[in-house]
């Protein structure tokens, strides 16, 4: 077995945290190697060290058998290492090809040879089975497509070793399948891949080996063929995890949220909501399923006051909230776990304590008049951190110092603890480990059982099917069907999500 990367005794300490503690890790040529571990286990830190974004406090790195000193991402790229982060760094009004060649443009005299560039990109894409239009503009393509651009960019720069940090967290099931095929093709061409993911199904289907880390230490490296999902979950969390949610049947009560013929436009001024009608009752979880980009994000933005509607209305407990400000809507009793924790959910340069009260910061008990009560705020933050097991040295560190999953836990904790009439949970478990997912799911069900209304939006069909009591399918800005979750199947959802109809296939499916 030829080792392309070997990391020996890597230790990295952040204030109050040992992110990596004497870690040994190796990547063999032509394998897909998954790094698995709880939120905050130190996976991203280890990969950032390999990519030259952080320097280790101690330890050595060997690439292709040679000891190396990687000080910057530039060094890493020279060594043939490419990394794709979960959030992408693409130039939004550039084309796919322009983004890929950026920094390494084919030249014709002093001008960029665009024709050559498009050809190069096409060739590269065909080689590995990427379906992508080199001339499309970034802001017009889906997140899944953008991710392909990031991977192609790394390949274009000559990466033989590819690091993918949670590439599937933002992808739809179809896109995940496509990515799986691409990864297999890459390996066939002799590339080696390090994959970080929390989705155990993917681990089993995509990888050759798995290295499990817990609290900064390597627990074990195993062959995927010799392990199982349950085994991995247990090694990772240190206890048995139930991957199935057991919940009592819902006892839906009065209508809490009523959406009537709601309409809105996207950033280009095109209609994205074309008359949405929906009701969410107390004591139920209503899941919205749909392929990304069919209006679910905009729907939530409208009912949280972050986007203007162009028609229709929405009513919370009999009160018309259409056109109200975000603060009025929060005060009316809507809490919201946003889909993008970095854009909306957190002020990354605020402490956890300050983030813990965002949205409630101006009211008692956190403020009296204009004076804030920081003692109370910190105390409250500590409660959230304890209840939701947010891994952090204390409540005074900045949100940016937390691992992605722990940031997500903090946001979820804050919103669930607001005790709202309606809880909107958009991708609530994005980036969470199995243990944390289990807990957040339990809390959402608890909210339901306390008689709250929960509106769940998720790209993960498993999550929708497991958690929801009713499932509304959104397609092209409209709700095209509402199914009872008890007898809905993935197949039926798939048909509706693709714009098909169930009418003559099955009776009674639509309630």
């Amino acid at each position: 077995m030829e080792k392309v990367v070997e990391m020996r005794g890597i230790t990295k300490v952040f204030p109050g945290v040992r992110a990596n503690d004497d870690v040994n890790f190796e990547l063999a040529k032509g394998e897909i190697h998954v790094l698995l571990g709880e939120n905050g286990a130190g996976k991203t830190t280890l990969m950032n060290i390999l990519y030259g974004l952080y320097q280790p406090d101690s330890g050595e790195i060997y690439v292709n058998g040679k000891k190396v000193d990687i000080k910057t991402p530039g060094d890493a790229i020279k060594l043939g290492i490419g990394m794709v982060h979960q959030h992408f760094m693409l130039v939004h009004n550039f084309t796919v090809a322009e983004n890929i060649i950026l920094g390494k443009e084919p030249k014709k005299g002093i001008t960029v040879n665009m024709k050559q560039a498009i050809q190069d990109v096409k060739k590269l894409a065909d080689l590995y089975g990427f379906k992508i239009d080199p001339e499309a503009i970034i802001e017009d393509i889906t997140v899944g497509q953008q991710q392909k651009v990031e991977i192609l960019k790394a390949l274009y720069r000559g990466a033989d070793i590819l690091i993918l940090d949670e590439p599937t967290a933002v992808l739809t099931p179809q896109e995940i399948e496509e990515l799986g095929v691409i990864l297999k093709n890459l390996v066939k061409e002799g590339k080696s891949i390090i994959l970080i993911t929390h989705k155990l199904k993917e681990v089993m289907s995509m990888s050759d080996r798995v290295t499990i880390v817990r609290r900064g230490k390597v627990i074990d490296t195993v062959r995927t063929s010799e392990t199982s999902i349950d085994r991995l979950a247990e090694m990772m969390v240190g206890r048995k995890v139930s991957l199935k949610i057991d919940k009592a049947p819902a006892k839906p009560g009065k209508v809490v949220l009523e959406i009537k013929d709601l309409r809105a436009q996207d950033h280009r001024g095109l209609p994205v909501l074309k008359g949405v009608n929906l009701e969410v009752r107390s004591g139920e979880i209503l899941g919205i399923a749909g392929v990304d980009g069919n209006g679910q994000s905009e729907l939530i933005e409208v009912i949280t006051g972050l986007r203007k509607s162009t028609g229709g209305k929405f009513i919370l407990n009999g009160k018309d909230l259409t056109g109200k400000s975000p603060r009025e809507i929060i005060e009316a009793g809507i809490a919201h776990i946003p889909e993008d924790r970095h854009k909306r959910g957190l002020v990354l340069k605020y402490s956890l304590a300050e983030n813990a009260v965002l949205g409630k910061h101006y009211a008692a008990p956190f403020a009296k008049g204009i004076m804030m009560n920081y003692a109370r705020i910190k105390e409250y933050a500590r409660t959230l951190i304890r209840d939701f097991d947010v891994r952090t040295p204390n409540e005074e560190v900045m949100a940016s110092a937390l691992s992605g999953g722990n940031q997500q836990k903090m946001v979820a904790a804050r919103e669930i603890n607001k005790d709202p009439e309606l809880l909107i949970a958009a991708q609530p478990t994005r980036g969470l480990d199995v243990g944390a997912i289990e807990y957040i799911h339990k809390r959402l069900v608890m909210e339901r059982d306390r008689g709250r209304a929960v509106l769940l939006v998720s790209l993960e069909l498993d999550e929708i099917l497991n958690l929801s009591d009713r499932i509304a399918v959104i397609y092209d800005g409209e709700i095209v069907g509402i199914l009872d979750a008890k007898n809905a199947t993935e197949n039926e959802l798939g048909i509706l999500m693709a714009g098909g109809s169930l009418k003559n296939k099955k009776e009674g499916g639509i309630v």
């Binding site: 204030p15 109050g16 945290v17 040992r18 991203t44 950032n48 974004l53 952080y54 991402p73 982060h85 979960q86 959030h87 760094m89 940090d165 949670e166 967290a169 970080i196 929390h198 609290r215 949280t304 972050l306 400000s325 975000p326 603060r327 809507i329 929060i330 005060e331 919201h336 946003p338 970095h342 854009k343 909306r344 959910g345 957190l346 002020v347 990354l348 340069k349 605020y350 300050e354 965002l358 949205g359 910061h361 101006y362 403020a367 204009i370 004076m371 804030m372 920081y374 040295p393 204390n394 940016s400 691992s403 992605g404 999953g405 980036g431």
Partner: protein
């Protein structure tokens, strides 16, 4: 994770580390600026390096802190800088660039020169009157571009620059027109009841305005880190999307920050007239404290306590102009030093910005 006992030790270390990191660049920039200034002295005067160094530093020291008179004069310069530095810091924290502090200061000067002429008021009424007048005038002058930015979306930088010119010409019209003191290019002296107490005697221009400035440093500190207003304006400055999501009105806070910033600048103008200047003069150019305040706030990294130290540095440099000339060093060397400091601080911001982008890459993970 280490034991808790270790944590408290660590946190002290971290505070020290982060303070060190925050202060590192401003300190380096000051040292480099001084070094370049020394080189110029060496070159211009044809003396050795050590002689040049001692010549320059002696002159600056003598002119700023060396004698009682120079020390007093330094703090006369420091006083208005405290206000304009704080005014800029408030805007920076909200992510705004209030170039209009200069104009807001000027309008505060003008209003005080006018209100100060009212006769028959006891000081206990007159001084609060000019203070409120200065704050209001500056607040309006800052609020207008703030309002335009929030409601119409016009750039605050362009609008505040225009407001600066309006303030200057309005001031000149009044100073040379309706309120001109015949024979001189200024308004008449304000009434004694509108003058701040010069606690070191009438001949020393230092006055109680300095203490108002120091008090304001504490107030701005509290504003930033203890009040909901500070929480909201900092959130808007750091991440407007998250602020909006958290029910914080970006528009309202932009206007508010410009009003507060302008109010502080206007107050500075009021203090300047009632404590130091005692009238408003015809302006052939901008007074300059507003622009110096930008540099002060940048060097202070918008921290109120930093504003104090940066103001003292700039005040000391300004007041040493005469003693520099006494030893045949052109006073422009002061501008040179200030300019280099600003360039360095600006470079630091750019460097940070790039580093931030890199860090963002490292940070933005699953």
């Amino acid at each position: 994770m280490t034991a808790n006992a270790n944590n408290s030790h660590n946190s002290l270390l971290n505070v020290l580390k982060s303070t060190y990191r925050t202060l590192l660049f401003p300190l380096i920039s000051i040292i480099v600026a001084m070094f370049v200034a020394v080189l110029f002295v060496v070159w211009g005067r044809g003396v050795g390096f050590f002689e040049g160094t001692s010549l320059l530093f002696k002159a600056i020291w003598n002119g700023s802190f060396g004698s009682k008179d120079s020390l007093i004069e330094t703090f006369v310069y420091v006083t208005p800088l405290l206000f304009t530095g704080l005014a800029n810091a408030v805007a920076f924290k909200t992510g705004l660039f209030n170039i209009g502090v200069e104009g807001q200061f000027t309008i505060g000067v003008l209003i005080t020169a006018i209100l100060g002429l009212i006769s028959g008021l006891p000081a206990i009424v007159h001084i609060p009157l000019i203070i409120v007048g200065g704050i209001l005038a500056g607040a309006i002058w800052g609020g207008i571009p703030g309002y335009l930015k929030a409601k119409v979306g016009t750039n605050e930088v362009v609008n505040t620059i225009m407001m600066n010119f309006i303030a200057m010409y309005l001031s000149n019209y009044i100073v040379m027109g309706p309120l001109n003191k015949p024979g001189v290019a200024s308004t008449p002296e304000i009434r004694p009841s509108a003058m701040l107490w010069r606690f070191l005697g009438e001949n020393n221009r230092l006055n109680t305005g300095l203490f108002i400035g120091l008090l304001l440093i504490a107030l701005v500190y509290i504003l930033f880190w203890k009040t909901t207003i500070g929480y909201e304006i900092r959130a808007v400055g750091l991440n407007p999307y998250a602020a909006e999501y958290g029910g914080i009105s970006i528009k309202k806070n932009m206007i508010l920050a410009m009003v507060i910033s302008g109010g502080i600048a206007g107050l500075g103008g009021a203090i300047y007239v009632s404590g130091i200047q005692h009238n408003a003069m015809e302006l052939t150019g901008f007074i300059g404290y507003g622009f110096d305040g930008i540099a002060v706030a940048l060097l202070a990294k918008s921290h109120p306590v930093g504003v104090l130290f940066a103001s003292i540095l700039f005040g000391a440099l300004n007041s040493s102009a005469i003693s520099l000339q006494l030893v045949n060093i052109p006073k422009q060397i002061v501008f040179l030093i200030q300019a280099i400091i600003i360039i360095f601080v600006a470079a630091d911001y750019i460097y940070k910005w790039i580093g931030e982008k890199r860090k963002k890459e490292a940070m933005i993970n699953g």
